[in-house]
């Protein structure tokens, strides 16, 4: 029945075994070994459908191996490995187990060949990941985790509803490319959209990720959202609406990324923007565009992990990742700074860095298909990415106004994890064919043409010029301790306020009406008492004998009725 075990089983075994191992390096080693073995497992799995079984009449496929699934499976394994290395110091069983189950669920979902299996792992990622937020163990983290969980589980429930409708319509639960139309497909699309942080469905991302632990945010940044991109690429390639959704996604978080104070949250906005590129790629749906989406997910996971690791190291040493509290760290954390700059150069897509080789595929795909406005939006977003991430993060964390903080350099294992990730970012940028060969379709694309390199450098350096001039003129918004209003205000403030006021109104009107009724009733009784009670005017005129007569008549009627019936 099952010929190739899905890699998820390996992660599950690891998670079950971990609590029984002695605390310390042995557990750390396990979290590192599992992704390595898992990657080898994925690499050596033959293409095709494996692990098929029938469950309650449903044809389930636990492991579908093809190029699209393998590229995501491998980068997820790589991310799990790097995150585990970065978390070598961790002595928290909950986080270690949660990380294994979370990575395993994400990989399981990538290889799911049917919607039911996808749903199981989809919920698995939600439940496992929330523990990385709760691991902070503060009141705020608990509340944030709850909000996160509600939204993640809702996405799963909507997926479940969608798959039931889809099964009803088509008689199949196979997870293949779908066309938007029926309610079922729309529900599945919406469920993917929530996890992919579509505009206005995105706030859970910025809310939850920076609330996790130092290491937890690194783990979170890799899986859920890229799983959603995979699901869209699998289920809805070439769906036109995605082009416009993605273009908006790539541009509008700019404002937030620029004014946000918490640098880890700035990174999450930046992540959201990068997802926008991938969504555009999926929406265009040509081979070049789908390759671009997969490639951008691959490079994106790495350079974002690198930046989250760098900011995590700063947080680890100083206790804060807020731009307003940092600055001047480059003297005592120079290695972390250099590695962060490599991440920043990669996300800004400088030539010879990884972002360049993947973002270019998507931009070229948009230009080739003559989506001119979308192309222009993506180009502006590229210029923006340099400002809000490429420059803002290294500048305010390591340079800028001196905070007087002189933290020690990050621990060796963190530097090693960051160093490896940075090497991958540069390696992929210099040798793009390594990544291109793994992509779902054959790549016939030369990224290092004269035009391309020069135009990209022009775009980036002139944006940097813009930053330098705005900074000199004192116009650039300096970081301040603050939170920024977004659409999550609706359910964090407005919603509860509406409920509170509605509650107040209901309570007031209930008290008012019930009080009024009680008063009317009391008045009626009093009036009756006054007129017909012992002291009433009417009672004074009634003789006692009249009462006896009345009772006698009543008894007589009862007797007649009983006799007749």
């Amino acid at each position: 029945m099952i010929d190739v075990l899905p890699p998820f089983t390996l992660y599950l075994l690891g998670a079950l075994l971990l609590p029984f191992l002695p605390k310390g390096h042995v557990r750390g080693l396990l979290t590192i070994v599992v992704p390595v073995v898992g990657a080898w497992w994925i690499w050596s799995a033959p293409e095709g459908l494996h692990g098929q079984m029938t469950w309650m009449g449903l044809e389930m496929v636990w492991m579908r191996v093809d190029k699209l699934a393998v590229v995501f499976g491998l980068v997820f394994s790589l991310a799990a490995f790097l995150a585990a290395l970065y978390a070598w110091h961790l002595r928290d069983t909950v986080q270690q187990v949660a990380t294994l189950l979370y990575a395993g669920s994400a990989i399981g979902a990538v290889f799911a060949g049917d919607l039911v299996t996808l749903f199981l792992f989809w919920e698995g990622t939600a439940i496992a990941s929330v523990f990385l937020i709760w691991a902070r163990r503060t009141e705020g983290a608990y509340a944030t985790g709850m909000r996160y969980l509600v939204i993640q589980i809702s996405s799963g429930v909507i997926l479940l509803g969608g798959l039931v409708l889809q099964y009803h319509d088509t008689g199949s639960i196979a997870f293949e490319a779908m066309t938007l139309g029926s309610l079922g497909t729309w529900a599945i699309f919406l469920s993917f959209g929530i996890k992919c942080a579509f505009p206005l469905l995105h706030d859970w991302l910025q809310d939850a990720y920076p609330a996790a632990t130092v290491t937890g945010t690194v783990v979170l940044s890799a899986f859920t959202t890229k799983l959603a991109v995979y699901a869209l690429a699998r289920g809805f390639p070439g769906t036109e609406i995605l082009i416009y959704i993605g273009a908006v996604m790539a541009l509008f978080p700019f404002v937030y990324a620029l004014i946000e104070n918490d640098l880890r949250r700035v990174m999450v906005y930046s992540l959201n923007i990068q997802l926008g590129y991938m969504v555009v790629g999926v929406g265009i749906g040509t081979e070049l565009a789908l390759n671009g989406a997969a490639a951008h997910a691959f490079t994106g996971i790495l350079y974002k992990a690198l930046l989250f690791m760098g900011l995590g190291a700063v947080l680890f040493r100083t206790g804060t990742a807020k731009a307003s509290e940092l600055g001047g760290l480059y003297k005592t954390m120079p290695v972390t700074m250099v590695l962060c700059v490599i991440g920043a150069a990669s996300i800004s897509a400088f030539p010879l860095f990884s972002g360049f080789i993947s973002k270019s595929l998507i931009l070229s795909a948009a230009a080739h298909e003559h989506h001119n406005i979308v192309w222009a939006m993506l180009l502006a977003a590229s210029a923006g990415a340099l400002i809000h991430t490429g420059i803002k993060i290294p500048y305010f964390a390591f340079f800028g106004a001196d905070s007087g903080k002189r933290p020690k350099e990050a621990p060796a294992h963190m530097l090693l994890a960051m160093g490896l990730t940075a090497a991958l970012c540069i390696g992929l940028g210099v040798f793009p064919s390594v990544l291109y060969d793994m992509l779902p379709y054959e790549v016939d694309y030369d990224v290092y043409t004269t035009t391309h390199v020069i135009t990209q450098l022009q775009l980036l350096l002139f944006s940097a010029l813009g930053f330098a001039l705005l900074m000199k003129a004192g116009i650039f918004p300096m970081p301040q301790r603050s939170v920024t209003l977004s659409s999550d205000w609706t359910y964090r403030k407005a919603g509860p306020a509406v409920v509170w006021y509605v509650g107040l109104a209901v309570r007031a009107s209930w008290r008012g009406t019930s009080g009024l009724i009680a008063k009317l009733y009391a008045d009626f009784i009093k009036a009756m008492h006054a007129s017909a009670g012992p002291d009433g005017a009417r009672a004074a005129n009634w003789p006692t004998g009249a009462m006896v007569m009345n009772i006698a008549i009543l008894l007589g009627i009862v007797l007649v009725v009983i006799f007749v019936s």
């Binding site: 004014i259 180009l379 004269t450 020069i454 350096l461 002139f462």
Partner: protein
Amino acid sequence: MAQFKDDPEKLPWLGRKLMLFDDKKNVDRLVYGLYALCALLFLADFFYKKKYYISAENFPGFYALYGFFACVVLVLCAKVLRRFLMRDEGFYAPQDTESEDHPDHDLGKESHYD
């Protein structure tokens, strides 16, 4: 804004080298370098044959001007919107981590000079 005097002897090698940016003149030199590089890149557009798919791309210096103005306009938008969107750090407290200190059990705070 050097509120803190560093002891170059105690800094790591790279940090000591980078201390040259403590001098404002060197930062200015860096910015002038950027101006020069931008000028060169703009001129470079006239010396090769551009391969393009969208006609606007062929306009000399299109990418340079677009990058510059896109970023300036976006930053100005952000600056205006910030007035309406910014709230106090404790706005969502206590159901929010923003106003909390990061708990020590998750940290390894150490100062370089200890």
